[in-house]
């Protein structure tokens, strides 16, 4: 079975899992997973800090007064959808379908940008309500956690865009495939962090 697949793939230009076809690709995938493991711990520390300080809102608004559930729900849907679109992009890469890959990664970038827009809008809102970075320990912890996540989204958007520019010039090959694969892994990771943010920050902030 697998031999047959290899042959048909070879005729199409790329093997079935182009991201792991070369030693370099295998190293990159493993190394990137390790990096994500390290990032998990870093985010966990920011989450712990947030949880420890979320009650210290001082004169500013508390979590319950501040958070708007509909807006968070919208951000969540956008980011979850972008996770799906990026995996479809990778699926396109596995099918050796250049156009499909580029299209869905493009959609991912757009969704990422709209998420960022929403987040900036949200932050501006909060600042107007008196929830600032320097105002209280809660503010510092909130903006550090959310800001780090937002910076990751921004980096992901820039990264995927860069890769798309490269792919336009070079097409899809054994060099580009691991890059796209890693970018999509990164994007899913950003989404995973968001799952915890909407649960631990927003929803738990509304409960207690």
């Amino acid at each position: 079975m697998s031999a047959q697949v290899d042959r048909t793939d070879a005729s199409a230009g790329l093997p079935a899992h182009p991201e792991r076809a070369t030693m370099e690709g295998r190293n990159k995938v493993l190394g990137f997973w390790l990096l994500l493991g390290a990032e998990t711990v870093m985010f966990a520390c920011f989450f712990g800090t947030y949880l420890a300080l979320r009650g210290s809102s001082m004169d500013g608004p508390t979590t319950q007064e501040l958070y708007q559930i509909p807006m968070v729900a919208l951000s969540t849907v956008i980011l979850l959808t972008s996770s799906l679109t990026s995996v479809i992009g990778v699926h396109g890469m596995h099918q050796n379908n250049y156009k499909k890959m580029m299209f869905w990664f493009g959609v991912t970038v757009l969704l990422g940008l709209s998420f960022l827009g929403l987040e900036i809008y949200e932050f501006v809102e909060y600042v107007h309500e008196g929830h600032t970075f320097t105002g209280s320990a809660f503010g510092s912890a909130f903006y550090t956690l959310l800001g780090t996540h937002g910076a990751h989204v921004l980096f992901g958007v820039t990264w995927i865009t860069t890769l798309m520019i490269q792919a336009r010039k070079r097409g899809l090959n054994l060099d580009m495939a691991p890059k796209f694969y890693l970018a999509s892994l990164y994007w899913h990771f950003v989404d995973v962090v968001w799952v915890f943010i909407f649960t631990v920050v927003y929803l738990m902030g509304k409960v207690s």
């Binding site: 697949v5 199409a12 493993l30 997973w33 985010f43 520390c45």
Partner: protein
């Protein structure tokens, strides 16, 4: 390049079909909706809301890891063990920093 971009017969309809992504995406949306509903509406007993949404989040993370991110317990045993260690240490850190201050 044009010729190269056409999917071949053998690839379409293999086990790696797009359907499973859509299915797990639907599941994620469902889990998220349940979590939001549990908080917004008074359908879950007071003390159970936080544990419930945390469990939902954890389930969703594993969905991401094993479907969207293509982790495979057998093929990527090393990666999975590093990732699980990272998650474990992360949880220990977060809980300790949150509680022991």
């Amino acid at each position: 390049m044009e010729a190269n971009t056409q999917p071949t017969q053998a690839q379409t309809g293999k086990q790696d079909s797009g359907l499973k992504y859509v299915a797990s995406f639907a599941l994620m949306i469902l889990l998220t909706a349940v979590a939001f509903a549990a908080v917004a509406m008074n359908i879950v007993p007071q003390g159970w809301v936080i544990p419930l949404i945390l469990v939902l989040a954890a389930v969703q993370v594993f969905l991401q890891l094993f479907t969207f991110m293509h982790l495979d317990l057998k093929k990527d045993a090393v990666t999975v063990s590093f990732m699980v260690t990272g998650l474990f240490i992360g949880v220990v850190c977060a809980v300790a920093v949150a509680i022991l201050v």
